[in-house]
Protein backbone atom coordinates (compact mmCIF):
# COMPACT_ATOMS: atom_id res chain seq x y z
CA UNK A 1 0.00 0.00 0.00
CA UNK A 2 1.29 3.43 -0.93
CA UNK A 3 -0.16 6.54 0.71
CA UNK A 4 0.65 9.96 -0.63
CA UNK A 5 -0.55 12.95 1.34
CA UNK A 6 -0.41 16.60 0.17
CA UNK A 7 2.89 15.84 -1.55
CA UNK A 8 4.52 18.94 -3.05
CA UNK A 9 7.83 19.52 -4.79
CA UNK A 10 9.05 22.91 -5.97
CA UNK A 11 12.19 23.65 -7.93
CA UNK A 12 12.64 27.37 -7.42
CA UNK A 13 9.57 29.04 -8.87
CA UNK A 14 8.43 25.94 -10.73
CA UNK A 15 6.05 23.57 -8.96
CA UNK A 16 6.59 20.05 -10.26
CA UNK A 17 4.20 18.30 -7.89
CA UNK A 18 1.38 20.27 -6.34
CA UNK A 19 -0.39 18.90 -3.27
CA UNK A 20 -0.97 15.35 -4.50
CA UNK A 21 -3.03 13.06 -2.29
CA UNK A 22 -3.91 9.50 -3.27
CA UNK A 23 -3.68 5.89 -2.11
CA UNK A 24 -2.46 2.91 -4.11
CA UNK A 25 -4.12 -0.30 -2.95
CA UNK A 26 -2.76 -3.84 -3.00
CA UNK A 27 -4.13 -6.57 -5.25
CA UNK A 28 -4.64 -4.46 -8.36
CA UNK A 29 -2.54 -2.69 -10.96
CA UNK A 30 -2.85 1.06 -10.50
CA UNK A 31 -1.91 3.21 -13.46
CA UNK A 32 -0.24 6.56 -12.86
CA UNK A 33 -1.17 8.53 -15.89
CA UNK A 34 -0.36 11.96 -17.14
CA UNK A 35 1.21 13.84 -20.02
CA UNK A 36 5.00 14.22 -20.12
CA UNK A 37 6.17 16.66 -17.48
CA UNK A 38 3.13 16.12 -15.27
CA UNK A 39 5.28 15.19 -12.28
CA UNK A 40 4.91 11.39 -12.36
CA UNK A 41 8.61 10.55 -12.07
CA UNK A 42 9.20 13.20 -9.41
CA UNK A 43 6.32 11.77 -7.36
CA UNK A 44 7.72 8.25 -7.65
CA UNK A 45 11.18 9.45 -6.65
CA UNK A 46 9.72 11.16 -3.58
CA UNK A 47 7.85 7.98 -2.61
CA UNK A 48 11.23 6.21 -2.65
CA UNK A 49 13.01 8.96 -0.72
CA UNK A 50 15.34 9.85 -3.59
CA UNK A 51 13.97 13.38 -3.78
CA UNK A 52 13.01 15.36 -0.70
CA UNK A 53 9.44 16.70 -0.81
CA UNK A 54 9.07 20.44 -0.29
CA UNK A 55 6.09 19.50 1.88
CA UNK A 56 3.73 16.58 2.42
CA UNK A 57 4.43 12.92 3.04
CA UNK A 58 4.60 9.62 1.20
CA UNK A 59 4.58 6.25 2.92
CA UNK A 60 4.96 2.63 1.88
CA UNK A 61 3.17 0.11 4.08
CA UNK A 62 2.65 2.77 6.70
CA UNK A 63 6.16 4.21 6.92
CA UNK A 64 8.40 6.46 4.89
CA UNK A 65 10.47 4.19 2.61
CA UNK A 66 13.77 5.20 4.22
CA UNK A 67 12.56 4.13 7.65
CA UNK A 68 12.10 0.48 6.76
CA UNK A 69 14.83 -1.81 8.09
CA UNK A 70 14.88 -3.84 4.87
CA UNK A 71 13.61 -1.39 2.21
CA UNK A 72 14.19 -3.63 -0.83
CA UNK A 73 11.86 -6.20 0.73
CA UNK A 74 9.14 -3.58 1.15
CA UNK A 75 9.26 -1.94 -2.26
CA UNK A 76 11.05 -2.60 -5.51
CA UNK A 77 11.36 0.11 -8.11
CA UNK A 78 12.17 0.59 -11.74
CA UNK A 79 12.74 4.33 -11.97
CA UNK A 80 15.23 4.62 -14.73
CA UNK A 81 16.65 1.84 -16.87
CA UNK A 82 19.95 3.69 -16.84
CA UNK A 83 20.40 3.58 -13.06
CA UNK A 84 23.18 1.06 -13.55
CA UNK A 85 26.96 1.45 -13.76
CA UNK A 86 27.75 0.88 -17.43
CA UNK A 87 30.99 -0.91 -16.63
CA UNK A 88 29.44 -3.54 -14.37
CA UNK A 89 27.75 -6.77 -15.46
CA UNK A 90 24.04 -7.28 -14.83
CA UNK A 91 24.92 -10.13 -12.46
CA UNK A 92 27.29 -8.06 -10.33
CA UNK A 93 24.88 -5.12 -10.32
CA UNK A 94 22.17 -7.34 -8.86
CA UNK A 95 24.63 -9.06 -6.53
CA UNK A 96 25.74 -5.72 -5.08
CA UNK A 97 22.12 -4.61 -4.64
CA UNK A 98 21.24 -7.92 -2.98
CA UNK A 99 24.23 -7.77 -0.63
CA UNK A 100 22.94 -4.61 1.07
CA UNK A 101 20.10 -6.50 2.68
CA UNK A 102 21.39 -10.07 2.78
CA UNK A 103 19.37 -11.42 -0.16
CA UNK A 104 20.94 -14.76 -1.15
CA UNK A 105 22.78 -15.34 -4.44
CA UNK A 106 20.16 -17.89 -5.43
CA UNK A 107 17.57 -15.08 -5.61
CA UNK A 108 19.87 -13.10 -7.93
CA UNK A 109 19.99 -16.08 -10.32
CA UNK A 110 16.21 -16.42 -9.98
CA UNK A 111 15.37 -12.83 -10.98
CA UNK A 112 17.83 -13.03 -13.89
CA UNK A 113 15.84 -16.03 -15.14
CA UNK A 114 12.49 -14.30 -14.52
CA UNK A 115 13.42 -11.36 -16.75
CA UNK A 116 15.17 -13.52 -19.33
CA UNK A 117 18.64 -12.01 -19.13
CA UNK A 118 20.39 -15.30 -18.46
CA UNK A 119 22.58 -15.24 -21.55
CA UNK A 120 23.87 -11.70 -21.09
CA UNK A 121 24.02 -11.58 -17.29
CA UNK A 122 27.82 -11.59 -17.21
CA UNK A 123 28.15 -8.91 -19.89
CA UNK A 124 28.71 -5.23 -19.18
CA UNK A 125 25.40 -3.39 -18.76
CA UNK A 126 26.77 -0.51 -20.88
CA UNK A 127 26.30 -2.64 -23.98
CA UNK A 128 22.64 -3.37 -23.23
CA UNK A 129 19.81 -2.20 -25.46
CA UNK A 130 17.07 -0.07 -23.88
CA UNK A 131 14.85 -3.15 -23.65
CA UNK A 132 17.55 -5.20 -21.91
CA UNK A 133 18.16 -2.27 -19.57
CA UNK A 134 14.44 -2.26 -18.68
CA UNK A 135 14.57 -5.97 -17.96
CA UNK A 136 17.57 -5.46 -15.70
CA UNK A 137 15.71 -2.67 -13.91
CA UNK A 138 12.71 -4.95 -13.40
CA UNK A 139 15.05 -7.67 -12.10
CA UNK A 140 16.37 -5.26 -9.44
CA UNK A 141 12.80 -4.27 -8.56
CA UNK A 142 11.87 -7.93 -8.00
CA UNK A 143 15.06 -8.76 -6.09
CA UNK A 144 13.66 -8.39 -2.57
CA UNK A 145 10.36 -10.10 -3.48
CA UNK A 146 8.66 -6.89 -2.34
CA UNK A 147 5.01 -6.28 -1.53
CA UNK A 148 5.03 -2.95 -3.40
CA UNK A 149 6.28 -2.44 -6.95
CA UNK A 150 6.84 0.99 -8.41
CA UNK A 151 7.50 0.98 -12.14
CA UNK A 152 8.16 4.16 -14.12
CA UNK A 153 7.30 3.64 -17.80
CA UNK A 154 8.32 -0.04 -17.75
CA UNK A 155 7.36 -0.75 -21.35
CA UNK A 156 9.70 1.93 -22.72
CA UNK A 157 11.96 0.45 -25.34
CA UNK A 158 10.51 -3.04 -25.13
CA UNK A 159 9.56 -4.94 -28.26
CA UNK A 160 5.94 -6.15 -28.59
CA UNK A 161 6.82 -9.48 -27.01
CA UNK A 162 8.46 -7.64 -24.11
CA UNK A 163 5.42 -5.38 -23.71
CA UNK A 164 3.14 -8.40 -23.50
CA UNK A 165 5.49 -10.02 -20.99
CA UNK A 166 5.53 -6.97 -18.70
CA UNK A 167 1.71 -6.68 -18.87
CA UNK A 168 1.31 -10.27 -17.76
CA UNK A 169 3.98 -9.88 -15.12
CA UNK A 170 2.21 -6.85 -13.63
CA UNK A 171 -1.14 -8.64 -13.60
CA UNK A 172 0.43 -11.71 -11.98
CA UNK A 173 2.13 -9.60 -9.33
CA UNK A 174 -1.14 -7.86 -8.53
CA UNK A 175 -3.00 -11.18 -8.47
CA UNK A 176 -0.55 -12.36 -5.81
CA UNK A 177 -1.83 -9.50 -3.66
CA UNK A 178 0.96 -7.06 -4.31
CA UNK A 179 0.62 -3.33 -4.82
CA UNK A 180 1.59 -2.48 -8.38
CA UNK A 181 1.97 1.21 -9.24
CA UNK A 182 2.94 1.83 -12.82
CA UNK A 183 3.31 5.10 -14.68
CA UNK A 184 2.67 5.74 -18.33
CA UNK A 185 1.86 8.60 -20.63
CA UNK A 186 -0.07 6.23 -22.88
CA UNK A 187 -3.70 5.70 -21.95
CA UNK A 188 -4.03 2.76 -24.32
CA UNK A 189 -1.26 0.95 -22.45
CA UNK A 190 -3.01 1.46 -19.12
CA UNK A 191 -6.36 0.34 -20.53
CA UNK A 192 -4.88 -3.10 -21.03
CA UNK A 193 -3.26 -3.52 -17.63
CA UNK A 194 -4.64 -1.18 -15.00
CA UNK A 195 -7.84 -1.49 -12.98
CA UNK A 196 -7.47 1.81 -11.23
CA UNK A 197 -6.10 5.12 -12.44
CA UNK A 198 -4.43 8.07 -10.78
CA UNK A 199 -4.37 10.82 -13.40
CA UNK A 200 -2.19 13.90 -12.99
CA UNK A 201 -1.53 17.00 -15.02
CA UNK A 202 0.84 19.84 -14.20
CA UNK A 203 1.58 18.20 -10.87
CA UNK A 204 -2.04 18.19 -9.74
CA UNK A 205 -4.49 15.35 -9.28
CA UNK A 206 -7.05 15.21 -12.08
CA UNK A 207 -8.71 11.91 -11.31
CA UNK A 208 -8.42 9.00 -8.89
CA UNK A 209 -10.90 6.48 -10.27
CA UNK A 210 -11.39 3.00 -11.66
CA UNK A 211 -10.80 2.62 -15.38
CA UNK A 212 -14.56 2.21 -15.94
CA UNK A 213 -15.49 5.33 -13.98
CA UNK A 214 -12.78 7.23 -15.79
CA UNK A 215 -14.37 6.59 -19.16
CA UNK A 216 -17.79 7.37 -17.71
CA UNK A 217 -16.56 10.69 -16.33
CA UNK A 218 -14.99 11.82 -19.55
CA UNK A 219 -17.67 10.62 -21.93
CA UNK A 220 -20.79 12.21 -23.31
CA UNK A 221 -22.55 8.87 -23.70
CA UNK A 222 -24.37 8.60 -26.95
CA UNK A 223 -26.20 5.80 -28.73
CA UNK A 224 -25.82 4.88 -32.36
CA UNK A 225 -29.09 3.85 -33.99
CA UNK A 226 -29.57 2.33 -37.43
CA UNK A 227 -32.98 1.52 -38.82
CA UNK A 228 -34.64 1.26 -42.26
CA UNK A 229 -37.45 3.48 -40.89
CA UNK A 230 -35.12 6.07 -39.42
CA UNK A 231 -37.30 9.06 -40.24
CA UNK A 232 -40.27 7.72 -38.25
CA UNK A 233 -37.98 6.68 -35.41
CA UNK A 234 -36.41 10.13 -35.37
CA UNK A 235 -39.80 11.69 -34.68
CA UNK A 236 -40.49 9.20 -31.90
CA UNK A 237 -37.28 10.01 -30.09
CA UNK A 238 -36.85 13.72 -30.63
CA UNK A 239 -37.88 15.88 -27.71
CA UNK A 240 -36.54 18.24 -25.06
CA UNK A 241 -33.11 17.21 -23.70
CA UNK A 242 -32.51 14.77 -26.49
CA UNK A 243 -30.13 15.52 -29.32
CA UNK A 244 -30.29 13.56 -32.51
CA UNK A 245 -27.49 13.85 -35.00
CA UNK A 246 -27.75 12.31 -38.39
CA UNK A 247 -24.60 10.35 -39.19
CA UNK A 248 -25.52 8.98 -42.60
CA UNK A 249 -28.59 7.75 -44.42
CA UNK A 250 -30.56 5.53 -42.03
CA UNK A 251 -28.16 6.08 -39.13
CA UNK A 252 -28.11 8.64 -36.36
CA UNK A 253 -26.52 9.29 -33.02
CA UNK A 254 -28.67 10.05 -29.99
CA UNK A 255 -27.55 11.65 -26.79
CA UNK A 256 -29.76 12.32 -23.79
CA UNK A 257 -31.68 9.07 -24.00
CA UNK A 258 -30.59 5.57 -22.97
CA UNK A 259 -30.30 2.70 -25.43
CA UNK A 260 -33.00 0.88 -23.46
CA UNK A 261 -35.51 3.72 -23.88
CA UNK A 262 -34.80 3.98 -27.59
CA UNK A 263 -35.24 0.22 -28.02
CA UNK A 264 -38.55 0.22 -26.08
CA UNK A 265 -40.00 3.06 -28.12
CA UNK A 266 -38.96 1.45 -31.40
CA UNK A 267 -40.50 -1.87 -30.35
CA UNK A 268 -43.76 -0.17 -29.24
CA UNK A 269 -44.07 1.39 -32.69
CA UNK A 270 -43.07 -1.81 -34.46
CA UNK A 271 -39.94 -0.31 -35.99
CA UNK A 272 -37.09 -2.73 -36.67
CA UNK A 273 -33.66 -1.75 -35.47
CA UNK A 274 -30.57 -2.90 -37.36
CA UNK A 275 -28.19 -1.48 -34.84
CA UNK A 276 -28.41 -0.04 -31.36
CA UNK A 277 -25.04 0.49 -29.72
CA UNK A 278 -23.61 2.56 -26.92
CA UNK A 279 -20.82 4.78 -28.20
CA UNK A 280 -17.98 4.70 -25.65
CA UNK A 281 -15.16 7.07 -26.26
CA UNK A 282 -11.80 5.35 -26.46
CA UNK A 283 -9.65 5.64 -23.36
CA UNK A 284 -7.22 7.75 -25.30
CA UNK A 285 -10.00 10.25 -26.10
CA UNK A 286 -11.18 10.25 -22.52
CA UNK A 287 -7.64 10.91 -21.38
CA UNK A 288 -7.17 13.76 -23.85
CA UNK A 289 -10.45 15.33 -22.78
CA UNK A 290 -9.50 15.24 -19.12
CA UNK A 291 -5.95 16.45 -19.50
CA UNK A 292 -6.36 18.95 -22.28
CA UNK A 293 -5.89 21.87 -19.91
CA UNK A 294 -2.95 20.27 -18.17
CA UNK A 295 -0.68 19.41 -21.04
CA UNK A 296 2.74 20.88 -20.38
CA UNK A 297 4.12 20.80 -23.90
CA UNK A 298 1.46 21.01 -26.57
CA UNK A 299 1.87 21.18 -30.31
CA UNK A 300 0.02 24.02 -31.96
CA UNK A 301 -1.90 21.69 -34.23
CA UNK A 302 -5.07 20.65 -32.48
CA UNK A 303 -6.43 17.17 -32.87
CA UNK A 304 -9.90 17.86 -34.12
CA UNK A 305 -12.85 15.57 -34.37
CA UNK A 306 -13.29 12.19 -32.88
CA UNK A 307 -10.71 9.61 -33.57
CA UNK A 308 -12.11 6.25 -34.58
Amino acid sequence: MIEVNELTKRYGAKTAVDGLTFTVKPGIVTGFLGPNGAGKSTTMRMILGLDRPTSGTATINGRPYAEHAAPLQQAGALLDAKAVHTGRSAYHHLLAMAATTGIPKSRVAEVIDIVGLHEVAKKRAGGFSLGMGQRLGIASALLGDPEVLILDEPTNGLDPEGVLWIRNLMRDLAAQGRTVFVSSHLMSEMALTAEHLVVVGKGQLIADVSVGEFIEQASHNSVLVRSPRSVELHDLIAGPGVTVLSVERGTFEVSGMSAADIGERAAAAGIALHELSLQKPSLEEAFMTLTKDAVEYRSELSLTGKAA
Partner: protein
Protein backbone atom coordinates in the same frame (compact mmCIF):
# COMPACT_ATOMS: atom_id res chain seq x y z
CA UNK B 1 -1.36 -5.48 5.98
CA UNK B 2 0.50 -7.44 3.37
CA UNK B 3 -1.21 -10.48 1.96
CA UNK B 4 1.99 -11.62 0.31
CA UNK B 5 4.07 -14.11 2.25
CA UNK B 6 7.71 -13.11 2.01
CA UNK B 7 9.78 -15.96 0.72
CA UNK B 8 12.89 -14.68 2.45
CA UNK B 9 13.27 -13.72 6.07
CA UNK B 10 13.57 -9.97 6.47
CA UNK B 11 17.23 -9.09 6.69
CA UNK B 12 18.04 -5.58 7.77
CA UNK B 13 20.33 -3.23 5.93
CA UNK B 14 23.43 -2.98 8.12
CA UNK B 15 26.74 -1.16 7.72
CA UNK B 16 28.51 -4.52 7.34
CA UNK B 17 26.15 -5.57 4.50
CA UNK B 18 26.48 -2.21 2.75
CA UNK B 19 30.28 -2.49 3.03
CA UNK B 20 30.12 -5.96 1.46
CA UNK B 21 28.01 -4.50 -1.34
CA UNK B 22 30.63 -1.79 -1.90
CA UNK B 23 33.33 -4.50 -1.97
CA UNK B 24 31.41 -6.23 -4.78
CA UNK B 25 30.99 -2.92 -6.59
CA UNK B 26 34.70 -2.09 -6.23
CA UNK B 27 36.00 -5.33 -7.70
CA UNK B 28 33.35 -5.82 -10.39
CA UNK B 29 34.64 -2.93 -12.49
CA UNK B 30 37.45 -3.55 -14.91
CA UNK B 31 38.62 0.03 -14.41
CA UNK B 32 39.43 -0.72 -10.75
CA UNK B 33 42.12 -3.29 -11.52
CA UNK B 34 43.50 -1.16 -14.36
CA UNK B 35 43.73 2.04 -12.32
CA UNK B 36 45.14 0.14 -9.35
CA UNK B 37 47.77 -1.48 -11.60
CA UNK B 38 48.76 1.84 -13.17
CA UNK B 39 49.01 3.47 -9.75
CA UNK B 40 51.36 0.76 -8.47
CA UNK B 41 53.45 0.82 -11.65
CA UNK B 42 53.82 4.62 -11.48
CA UNK B 43 54.73 4.51 -7.80
CA UNK B 44 57.35 1.74 -8.03
CA UNK B 45 58.63 2.71 -11.49
CA UNK B 46 59.43 6.31 -10.63
CA UNK B 47 61.08 5.20 -7.39
CA UNK B 48 63.36 2.75 -9.18
CA UNK B 49 64.15 5.27 -11.90
CA UNK B 50 65.07 7.93 -9.33
CA UNK B 51 67.18 5.39 -7.42
CA UNK B 52 69.13 4.50 -10.56
CA UNK B 53 69.88 8.18 -11.19
CA UNK B 54 71.02 8.75 -7.63
CA UNK B 55 74.73 8.25 -8.48
CA UNK B 56 77.32 9.88 -6.29
CA UNK B 57 76.37 12.00 -3.35
CA UNK B 58 76.17 15.33 -5.17
CA UNK B 59 77.62 18.71 -4.21
CA UNK B 60 74.38 19.57 -2.45
CA UNK B 61 75.16 17.07 0.26
CA UNK B 62 72.38 14.68 -0.78
CA UNK B 63 74.26 11.76 0.72
CA UNK B 64 73.37 9.82 3.82
CA UNK B 65 70.26 7.72 4.36
CA UNK B 66 67.87 10.53 3.39
CA UNK B 67 68.81 10.58 -0.30
CA UNK B 68 68.26 6.94 -1.27
CA UNK B 69 65.08 6.63 0.80
CA UNK B 70 63.49 9.70 -0.74
CA UNK B 71 64.61 8.59 -4.19
CA UNK B 72 63.07 5.13 -3.86
CA UNK B 73 59.76 6.70 -2.74
CA UNK B 74 59.88 9.54 -5.30
CA UNK B 75 56.82 8.09 -7.03
CA UNK B 76 54.50 9.11 -4.19
CA UNK B 77 53.69 12.45 -5.82
CA UNK B 78 52.35 11.09 -9.10
CA UNK B 79 50.92 7.98 -7.47
CA UNK B 80 48.88 10.28 -5.24
CA UNK B 81 47.10 11.53 -8.34
CA UNK B 82 46.60 7.98 -9.62
CA UNK B 83 45.16 6.67 -6.34
CA UNK B 84 43.19 9.90 -5.96
CA UNK B 85 41.66 9.28 -9.39
CA UNK B 86 40.69 5.76 -8.30
CA UNK B 87 38.91 7.28 -5.30
CA UNK B 88 37.14 9.87 -7.45
CA UNK B 89 36.02 7.22 -9.95
CA UNK B 90 34.70 4.95 -7.20
CA UNK B 91 32.28 7.66 -6.04
CA UNK B 92 31.67 10.07 -8.93
CA UNK B 93 30.93 7.31 -11.46
CA UNK B 94 27.83 6.49 -9.37
CA UNK B 95 26.54 9.90 -10.38
CA UNK B 96 27.74 9.94 -13.99
CA UNK B 97 26.15 6.54 -14.71
CA UNK B 98 22.95 6.97 -12.65
CA UNK B 99 23.93 4.03 -10.42
CA UNK B 100 23.50 6.28 -7.38
CA UNK B 101 19.69 6.00 -7.71
CA UNK B 102 19.93 2.21 -7.44
CA UNK B 103 22.43 2.47 -4.58
CA UNK B 104 20.28 4.88 -2.61
CA UNK B 105 17.04 3.02 -3.20
CA UNK B 106 18.74 -0.04 -1.69
CA UNK B 107 20.19 2.05 1.15
CA UNK B 108 17.80 4.98 1.60
CA UNK B 109 19.56 6.12 4.76
CA UNK B 110 22.35 7.02 2.34
CA UNK B 111 25.36 7.64 4.61
CA UNK B 112 26.24 3.92 4.98
CA UNK B 113 27.04 3.98 1.25
CA UNK B 114 29.73 6.63 1.76
CA UNK B 115 31.16 4.93 4.87
CA UNK B 116 31.16 1.57 3.07
CA UNK B 117 33.04 3.03 0.13
CA UNK B 118 35.64 4.66 2.38
CA UNK B 119 36.09 1.44 4.39
CA UNK B 120 36.57 -0.76 1.31
CA UNK B 121 38.84 1.75 -0.40
CA UNK B 122 40.98 2.37 2.70
CA UNK B 123 41.38 -1.35 3.38
CA UNK B 124 42.33 -2.31 -0.16
CA UNK B 125 44.45 0.70 -1.06
CA UNK B 126 46.38 0.83 2.20
CA UNK B 127 47.45 -2.81 1.86
CA UNK B 128 48.32 -2.39 -1.83
CA UNK B 129 50.16 0.90 -1.31
CA UNK B 130 52.09 -0.46 1.67
CA UNK B 131 53.23 -3.47 -0.35
CA UNK B 132 54.17 -1.21 -3.26
CA UNK B 133 56.09 1.16 -0.95
CA UNK B 134 58.02 -1.78 0.53
CA UNK B 135 58.85 -3.04 -2.97
CA UNK B 136 59.90 0.43 -4.13
CA UNK B 137 62.09 0.92 -1.06
CA UNK B 138 63.72 -2.52 -1.22
CA UNK B 139 64.25 -2.29 -4.98
CA UNK B 140 65.57 1.25 -4.73
CA UNK B 141 68.10 0.30 -2.07
CA UNK B 142 69.25 -2.67 -4.14
CA UNK B 143 69.89 -0.31 -7.05
CA UNK B 144 71.67 2.19 -4.80
CA UNK B 145 73.89 -0.61 -3.57
CA UNK B 146 76.34 0.40 -0.83
CA UNK B 147 74.91 3.92 -0.69
CA UNK B 148 71.44 2.51 0.07
CA UNK B 149 69.63 2.77 3.39
CA UNK B 150 68.38 -0.14 5.44
CA UNK B 151 65.03 -0.77 7.13
CA UNK B 152 66.63 -0.15 10.51
CA UNK B 153 67.81 3.37 9.68
CA UNK B 154 65.93 6.06 11.60
CA UNK B 155 62.85 7.37 9.88
CA UNK B 156 62.85 4.71 7.14
CA UNK B 157 59.94 2.59 8.39
CA UNK B 158 57.94 5.75 9.00
CA UNK B 159 58.63 7.06 5.48
CA UNK B 160 57.52 3.76 3.91
CA UNK B 161 54.36 3.47 6.01
CA UNK B 162 53.79 7.21 5.66
CA UNK B 163 53.80 6.85 1.86
CA UNK B 164 51.03 4.28 2.07
CA UNK B 165 49.09 6.57 4.43
CA UNK B 166 49.43 9.54 2.07
CA UNK B 167 48.38 7.49 -0.97
CA UNK B 168 45.35 6.09 0.86
CA UNK B 169 44.48 9.53 2.19
CA UNK B 170 44.61 11.06 -1.30
CA UNK B 171 42.21 8.38 -2.49
CA UNK B 172 39.78 9.06 0.35
CA UNK B 173 40.05 12.76 -0.49
CA UNK B 174 39.09 11.72 -4.04
CA UNK B 175 36.02 9.85 -2.75
CA UNK B 176 35.01 12.91 -0.72
CA UNK B 177 35.48 15.27 -3.67
CA UNK B 178 33.57 12.86 -5.92
CA UNK B 179 30.60 12.85 -3.53
CA UNK B 180 30.78 16.60 -3.01
CA UNK B 181 31.10 17.62 -6.67
CA UNK B 182 29.27 14.63 -8.24
CA UNK B 183 31.39 14.89 -11.35
CA UNK B 184 34.51 12.92 -12.28
CA UNK B 185 36.29 15.71 -14.23
CA UNK B 186 35.50 18.37 -11.62
CA UNK B 187 36.69 16.18 -8.75
CA UNK B 188 39.90 15.10 -10.52
CA UNK B 189 40.78 18.70 -11.48
CA UNK B 190 40.14 19.87 -7.93
CA UNK B 191 42.28 17.08 -6.50
CA UNK B 192 45.06 17.82 -8.99
CA UNK B 193 44.90 21.54 -8.28
CA UNK B 194 45.01 21.10 -4.52
CA UNK B 195 47.72 18.44 -4.39
CA UNK B 196 49.99 19.69 -7.19
CA UNK B 197 49.40 23.28 -8.20
CA UNK B 198 48.30 25.00 -5.01
CA UNK B 199 51.66 24.65 -3.21
CA UNK B 200 53.67 26.01 -6.14
CA UNK B 201 51.30 28.87 -6.93
CA UNK B 202 50.98 29.89 -3.29
CA UNK B 203 54.80 29.82 -2.96
CA UNK B 204 55.16 32.13 -5.95
CA UNK B 205 52.39 34.58 -5.14
CA UNK B 206 52.53 34.96 -1.38
CA UNK B 207 55.13 37.22 0.29
CA UNK B 208 57.98 35.51 2.14
CA UNK B 209 56.44 36.33 5.51
CA UNK B 210 53.72 33.79 4.68
CA UNK B 211 56.17 30.95 4.20
CA UNK B 212 55.38 29.33 7.51
CA UNK B 213 51.72 29.07 6.45
CA UNK B 214 52.66 27.13 3.32
CA UNK B 215 53.54 24.13 5.46
CA UNK B 216 49.83 23.79 6.23
CA UNK B 217 48.80 23.29 2.61
CA UNK B 218 47.55 19.74 1.97
CA UNK B 219 50.42 18.83 -0.37
CA UNK B 220 53.11 20.09 2.00
CA UNK B 221 51.46 18.52 5.02
CA UNK B 222 51.41 15.21 3.12
CA UNK B 223 55.09 15.60 2.23
CA UNK B 224 55.96 16.03 5.90
CA UNK B 225 54.49 12.59 6.62
CA UNK B 226 56.78 10.84 4.15
CA UNK B 227 59.94 12.90 4.75
CA UNK B 228 62.76 11.01 6.46
CA UNK B 229 64.10 14.15 8.11
CA UNK B 230 62.09 17.25 8.86
CA UNK B 231 63.42 20.31 7.07
CA UNK B 232 63.14 23.92 8.23
CA UNK B 233 59.75 25.48 7.69
CA UNK B 234 57.85 22.21 7.32
CA UNK B 235 55.69 20.41 9.85
CA UNK B 236 56.83 17.39 11.79
CA UNK B 237 55.47 14.02 10.61
CA UNK B 238 52.71 13.83 13.26
CA UNK B 239 51.67 17.45 12.77
CA UNK B 240 51.67 16.80 9.01
CA UNK B 241 49.47 13.75 9.51
CA UNK B 242 47.07 15.75 11.66
CA UNK B 243 46.79 18.59 9.13
CA UNK B 244 46.44 16.26 6.10
CA UNK B 245 43.90 14.18 8.01
CA UNK B 246 42.04 17.36 8.95
CA UNK B 247 41.56 18.29 5.28
CA UNK B 248 40.27 14.81 4.48
CA UNK B 249 37.82 14.85 7.39
CA UNK B 250 36.56 18.30 6.39
CA UNK B 251 35.91 17.25 2.79
CA UNK B 252 34.28 13.95 3.82
CA UNK B 253 32.00 15.71 6.32
CA UNK B 254 30.93 18.19 3.65
CA UNK B 255 30.36 15.30 1.22
CA UNK B 256 28.26 13.44 3.80
CA UNK B 257 26.18 16.57 4.32
CA UNK B 258 25.47 16.92 0.62
CA UNK B 259 24.75 13.20 0.20
CA UNK B 260 22.28 13.23 3.09
CA UNK B 261 20.42 16.40 2.15
CA UNK B 262 20.38 16.76 -1.62
CA UNK B 263 18.10 15.05 -4.11
CA UNK B 264 19.82 12.05 -5.65
Amino acid sequence: MSTVALRYPTRKVTQARVTKSEWIKFWSLRSTAITLGISIAVFIGIGLLASSMLGDPGPNGQGGPDGPVSASLAGVGLAQLAFGTLGVLFMASEYSTGMIRSSLSAVPKRLPVLWGKIAVFTGVVFVVALAAAAIAFTGGQAIAGDAGASWSDPGVARAVIGSAVVLTGSGVLGIGLGALLRSTPAAISTLFGVMFLLGGIAGLLLPDSWNSALAYLPSNAANSITAVTTTDGSLGPLAGLAVFGGYIVAVVVAAAGRLKRSDA
